[in-house]
């Protein structure tokens, strides 16, 4: 195509990776919740939105952005803990649809509460001073903040991997995902493990929301459309697979960025077209177990 230099394509590739990083964080949380608790969290978009708004709140009381990165997931994760403990826990064993429906109702409540506190119009979220501007990445200048988003995501990925693979707690979580009954027999309180996992999953969603806020602002509805996109990522990657969530998240981000370069009006549709293709060729997703889907 004319006027389409290689540099431009590579730059757009990085834009896609930054967008993909947000998807990765969302889909990771979603996959964790599904893989361990078999809960499909329809409130995931609402937790994402809550992340951005708690960030605004904390900045308002004098926190800086770096502290927010730490405290926002903690605060929203605690909200997630409460939801699991008092609402979702009652529904385990009552069929897979009920937690889904409950979290859907929960998302209504959360969005409306944010509207009451912060108003219905969207708010701007300033990029932290240290990350304003662009950095030379060899082939051209790229917004520093987007590089930062990619970096944070990879750090979080590394930490999560260390936690799950290299600590005794991670061992328990992995065992709980494989066979909760045996874990219970071994004398471990599985309910507590699930509680923690729910906190981690919602915390990751909140982090994604906080990171996305400087790119697109914060509005009570920001979680709505991204929920469907996060579903696409989890379906493409394979439900419950963390590796799948990472690869599919980045892939979806890059696909969106590339379509916006070539045919901007098709960018949103391309996500779903990608999912349709994957479903036709490999219904269980990239890393999903065969037979799980059909």
């Amino acid at each position: 195509m004319e006027g389409l230099s290689l540099d431009l394509v590579v730059l757009q590739l990085f834009t896609g990776l930054a967008l993909g990083a947000i998807y990765v964080l969302l889909a990771l949380g979603m996959s964790l919740l599904f893989g361990m608790l078999t809960v499909v969290n329809f409130a995931h978009g609402a937790f994402y939105m809550l992340g951005a708004y708690v960030g605004i709140m904390l900045l308002g009381v004098g926190f800086n952005f770096w502290l927010c990165l730490l405290f926002v997931p903690l605060v929203v994760g605690s909200v997630g803990l409460l939801c699991e403990r008092f609402l979702i826990r009652r529904l385990y064993g009552r069929g897979i649809d009920y937690p889904l429906l409950l979290t859907f109702g929960l998302s209504y409540i959360m969005v409306e509460c944010v509207r009451i506190v912060f108003g219905t119009t969207g708010l701007q979220f300033d990029t932290p001073d240290a990350l304003v501007g662009a950095t030379d990445i060899g082939i051209g200048y790229f917004p520093t903040y987007r590089l930062f988003v990619i970096a944070v995501t990879f750090v979080v990925l590394g930490l999560l991997w260390l936690f799950l693979e290299r600590t005794p707690y991670g061992l328990i979580i992995r065992a709980g995902a494989r066979d909760p009954q045996i874990v219970r027999i071994l004398g471990i309180d599985v309910a507590r493990v699930w509680l923690v996992v729910f906190g981690i999953g919602t915390g990751l969603a909140a982090l994604a929301g906080l990171l996305a806020a400087p790119l697109q602002g914060a509005s009570p509805e920001m979680g709505n459309s991204i929920l469907a996109e996060a579903f696409v990522v989890t379906v493409v990657g394979g439900m419950g697979s963390l590796v799948g969530a990472v690869i599919a998240g980045l892939l979806v981000g890059v696909v969106v960025a590339m379509t916006s370069l070539l045919a901007p009006e098709m960018a949103q549709v391309s996500i779903f077209a990608l999912m349709a293709v994957v479903l036709l060729i490999r219904p269980q997703g990239f890393f999903g177990r065969a037979g799980l889907m059909s």
């Binding site: 529904l91 889904l100 409540i109 009451i116 709505n224 989890t234 379906v235 098709m266 549709v269």
Partner: protein
């Protein structure tokens, strides 16, 4: 308590009772428009419930079927100058066509994935409609689905009068209810329940589970498309939000609120939901908070829904 033979009598004459109820209903409502809304959303919820209640597949993409019906009807009338009945027919077929497209992909998945995949595909439809401004009006919605008079069998009826409008809509809803109850009572209806209860066994009995699901999804699309077409005629505009996933969520809420395991449950749910929305929004703009809380409470404490719980209480 009611005498037991009263219940039996009601059951025997349920068709007559339903028709009588449809005739009296608008007179009981605070205003006629809400009665029309309840009928339309009730039909939509009924179509949705064919998938969830009867077949056991939770779809989060029914907005696409409803919206396709509304847009097909609107486009037929606005762009092609079609008569009203062609609009309604077009809406029904439009719902079925989109259902066939989405269904062909979505029935490859099962259970929880079905919910996610239908949601994602319906969002795809939403964005496509959003871009196709020439046909759909894009963000502004499709305007000008005006219908002031309806001509049928040599008579001309004033469609602007609220009560007349109600009875026209009620006629189509009653027709759909009748067809649906026949479908559910047919051998095909029994297969649907068999697939829900024990998929492996249904397959072992020689039923093509995938084809059954596909058929059910298309039929569900027909009912939802009809509801959408009636909605387009009722509002004289098709807002783009008709296709948005909130609409899918709305119908899930209505069906669950009313009771998805029952025939009339979704209808009751739609009625309660819309009345609740109207009442609460009289004194606060944050009605979604209450609706959400009511829904959460319903999931936690009344999984059978209002109608289902009532029926249960009677059965004891």
């Amino acid at each position: 308590m009611l005498p037991p033979n009263f219940v039996a009598t009601c059951k025997r004459h349920r068709v007559v009772l339903s028709i009588a109820f449809l005739i009296v209903f608008p007179l009981l409502m605070p205003f006629k428009a809400i009665a029309v809304n309840i009928l339309i959303y009730g039909l939509f919820a009924l179509g949705f419930n064919l998938m969830f209640g009867t077949l056991g597949l939770l779809s989060f993409g029914h907005a696409a079927l409803f919206g396709a019906g509304a847009y097909a009807c609107g486009i037929a009338i606005v762009h092609f100058g079609a008569p009203w009945w062609a609009g309604i027919l077009g809406g029904t077929l439009g719902g079925m066509a989109i259902a066939a497209l989405i269904g062909a992909l979505a029935i490859r998945t099962r259970g929880i994935y079905f919910a996610m995949v239908t949601l994602a595909l319906s969002q795809c439809v939403y964005f496509l409609a959003y871009q196709a401004t020439a046909w759909t009006g894009g963000e502004n919605g499709l305007r000008g689905v005006e219908l002031s008079r309806i001509a049928a069998f040599g008579h001309s009826i004033n469609f602007v009068d609220p009560l007349t409008r109600y009875y026209v809509v009620a006629f189509f809803v009653a027709l759909a209810l009748f067809i649906l109850s026949r479908i559910l009572a047919s051998p095909f209806g029994a297969v649907l329940e068999a697939v829900r209860e024990n998929e492996a066994r249904a397959r072992a009995c020689g039923y093509d589970v995938r084809a059954t699901r596909f058929m059910a999804f298309v039929i569900s699309g027909g009912f939802c498309g009809l509801a959408g077409a009636l909605q387009a005629l009722h509002l004289s505009i098709v807002p783009i939000e008709t296709l948005y996933y909130q609409t899918s969520g709305l119908v899930v809420m209505m069906a669950l609120l009313g009771g998805m395991g029952t025939f009339f449950g979704p209808f009751v749910g739609a009625g309660v939901f819309l009345l609740l929305e109207n009442l609460v929004s009289l004194w606060t703009v944050h009605w979604q908070l209450f609706v959400g809380a009511a829904f959460v409470a319903c999931v936690l404490f009344f999984p059978r829904g209002i109608w289902g719980t009532l029926l249960m209480g009677r059965a004891k």
